[in-house]
Symmetry: C2
Subunit: 292 residues, 2 copies
């Protein structure tokens, strides 16, 4: 069952298996997974936290569920989303290994979103009550938690926020790079990976129409900067993808030398649009990249 995720077993936590066959993790495992420094006196701690396995498509929690546990992803790929006033799904993020799910809801003691698994997953359940105990016992742990939340907040604010200004091409380009980086952090290739989510979910996450996502991915493919087959992606020119921007209006840039950098981007975007419209006729003008 878990094989389909092809996770090197070496870096899966929770080897303290018991007679039942269930996995359990102690605090040291958890700190390592969260990439925080474990307090020195923590290895004496006897607490064990239960793992739980989910098949693809199962639900970890729904909006309004009591926040009994935080969920720490040990392995697998998930999707957190909410439903707006009109019943539209809004994808919030795609948690992966090491992500702590639920920290955005501790102030209400109630989940505000739903999280479902996109692949088979191994999840560590951390009771909220245990968090409170632990932060009392180990001051450093509380501070580490602050770091984790600060990291999350910074991600939302400094990475995701600026997306609102970007063109569809730039959003998707950066999305691909971001996924690559996340895989890289897990020890996989940042260049070649499998998007676990559907076009629909990508579109929803980026605030685009599904057709736009499809089109832009095809354009990227034709330009030779990526390869896509289904959800298999190979990033060929990450620089290109990362460099895409919304054509910046002269008025929104207070100062700065926008000379060469924007010149470059102007051309690229034009090319994209050009291909976008006239691809069948001309192919592209890119230097000898093979176009399918």
């Amino acid at each position: 069952m878990m094989q389909s995720i092809a996770m090197p077993s070496r870096i899966v936590f929770g080897h303290h298996s018991k007679a039942t066959g269930e996995l359990w993790s102690n605090m040291s495992d958890i700190c390592e997974l969260l990439k925080i420094e474990a307090p020195s006196n923590l290895d004496k701690d006897l607490r064990q936290f239960q793992h739980r396995r989910f098949k693809a498509g199962q639900t970890l929690h729904l909006p309004n569920d009591a926040l009994d546990n935080l969920f720490l992803v040990n392995c697998g790929f998930l999707k957190s989303s909410m439903t707006d006033d009109n019943g539209n799904e809004l994808v919030l993020n795609f948690p992966m290994k090491g992500e702590l799910i639920g920290v955005d809801s501790v102030h209400l003691r109630r989940h505000q979103s739903a999280t479902i698994t996109l692949s088979d997953c191994d999840i560590i359940l951390i009771p909220y009550a245990a968090i409170l105990e632990l932060t009392e016992e180990y001051v450093q742990l509380g501070q580490a938690l602050l770091h984790i939340m600060s990291r999350e907040l910074a991600r939302e604010r400094y990475i995701l926020g600026p997306q609102r200004t970007l063109s569809a091409e730039a959003k998707i380009g950066r999305f691909l790079c971001m996924m690559g980086e996340r895989y890289a952090q897990l020890g996989y290739s940042s260049r070649r990976f499998n998007l676990r989510m559907s076009r629909n979910e990508i579109a929803n996450y980026l605030g685009l129409a599904i057709e736009t996502v499809s089109r832009v991915l095809c354009v990227f493919h034709r330009l030779g900067v990526i390869t896509v087959h289904q959800r298999e992606v190979v990033i060929i020119d990450a620089e290109f993808l990362r460099g895409l921007i919304k054509l910046s209006t002269s008025r929104n840039k207070p100062m700065t030398d926008t000379g060469k950098k924007n010149l470059k981007n102007d051309r690229l975007i034009s090319d994209l649009s050009l291909v976008h419209v006239a691809d069948r006729h001309t192919g592209t003008t890119m230097s000898g990249v093979s176009h399918m």
Copy 2:
């Protein structure tokens, strides 16, 4: 100097003035300002935190500054922003009284954004070192900090995130309502207030062009749902503003009865667009609301 902000002095913290004329606050003041419960043994705490006054247009911190202090807004209106790769300003939020500035940067110990004052401000400086001390001494305080950050994170994720799907009208409508609510929390009117920021800053914050902001505000005015003169706003029909949505595509809504609710919004948006295009000729079709 501070008069221009017209803040009822009763709710300004920091009455422990000293011979120097500077204001200082203790931990109880700070907890109250942050709306967190003060640990019971905290009133014995002798720590005093210095206030600092800023004139409009001054800088609290710049990106890459060391995170020596967190800034707690006691009074005034500010703007946090960053500059993207192309030199474009990106407004992140508009801190007001009670907001703790810098929590998104504790993990790096370095600010990632700039914060400048939009009005005269009174800011309490809380040394980061003191935060660490305090969380060690008062466990509850650390947990309260977690709540604060969770609240912030939820705001970014559940309030700001979904903005990406909204039409310009909806973004601006909700922005106005949000500002109203924030003023209400400070004891002001939620209906009548002064936007402290320029159209440019609003546009930037919402990811729109400045002209779009201007136009939509005018349309709202003509529709009779608000009044705008410069930065003075009166909200007349908050329901209308809050109800604006992006016309939802049939494909993005998985399920749900979208009958009357969307019908209503379809009509409203059409009206807006209609006015948007043909306002001079027809006025509007709204029930007898006075137009300017």
